[in-house]
């Protein structure tokens, strides 16, 4: 992730508290109001909330967790990068949950990553220099195309 100044509107640094999700939501809303379709707006809000909530709830190793989120527009596509210094976790390798067909059989939890993978157009993960780097892509409907 490229180093950016603290005032860069494309970058938000979050701490290890669930209340930080409110700050994330307000920041995303600012982006979502800027010429983004309702579909991409929903996907962006849902995926970033799920990914960051997961890091805050399960990622801390010794309490010193830092999460940085960046957004970049490339034509009709939004790219989100989430970087954290927590425990290694690759959501792209997590198998999708088996969705229950009855309430009795339904297991509680494990839906956040599944929802993020379902709503993002594409998801990439790498672990580099002790940090998780998750990249999410959101294509506007007219820009969607098959993966190369």
């Amino acid at each position: 992730m490229t180093a950016m100044s603290g005032s860069d509107p494309r970058r938000l640094v979050l701490g290890n508290h669930l209340a930080e999700l409110n700050r994330l939501a307000v920041w995303i809303e600012g982006w979502a109001q800027d010429s983004v379709s309702p579909d991409v707006s929903l996907a962006l809000q849902l995926c970033l909330e799920e990914a960051v909530a997961n890091i805050i709830m399960y990622g801390a190793i010794d309490g010193g967790l830092e999460i940085a989120v960046e957004l970049e527009r490339r034509g009709q596509t939004l790219i989100a990068r989430i970087e954290d210094n927590g425990r290694p976790f690759d959501p792209t390798q997590k198998p999708p949950p088996r969705l229950a067909t009855t309430l009795k059989d339904a297991k509680i939890g494990n839906l956040g990553i599944y929802l993020a993978r379902s709503f993002a157009s594409h998801m990439d993960y790498e672990r580099r220099q002790g940090r998780n780097r998750l990249t999410l892509r959101f294509d506007e409907p007219q820009a969607a195309s098959p993966q190369p």
Binding site: P38, E49, A100, L103, I108, G112, L115
Partner: protein, 112 residues
């Protein structure tokens, strides 16, 4: 996030949730919601005024439905088509908890 409960006829309790039912919103309403589903047997959860919903909210709804079902009761969701309904459907919630777009249909299902 706000939560309010209202008694309807036939022993039905309508729970109205309002705002962002995201992680922090769900944490806020989890305890009062659990109290209602523990005490009631016919519960209509109205998500019409919910603007956004995440997996933690789904967790709260599923736990609530399981509690009500364990007492041979029933919990249904009222949710108009839109982004909240889209998230519920993607998560497969509509296969586990009845979801209605009209309040009259939701109430009728609880009367049965």
């Amino acid at each position: 996030m706000e939560i309010a409960a209202e008694d309807l006829t036939d022993g039905i309790t309508k729970v109205v949730l309002r705002g962002r039912f995201d992680t922090t919103g769900a944490v806020q309403v989890e305890l009062p919601f659990n109290r209602i589903v523990t005490e009631q047997r016919k519960v209509l959860v109205d998500l019409s005024a919910v603007s956004f919903l995440t997996s933690y909210a789904i967790r709260v709804l599923l736990i609530g439905a399981k509690i009500v079902n364990s007492k041979n009761g029933k919990l249904v969701i009222l949710c108009p088509d839109g982004k909240v309904a889209k998230v519920l459907k993607t998560a497969g919630v509509d296969a586990l908890i009845p979801v209605y777009v009209a309040e009259s249909a939701a109430i009728e299902a609880l009367r049965l």
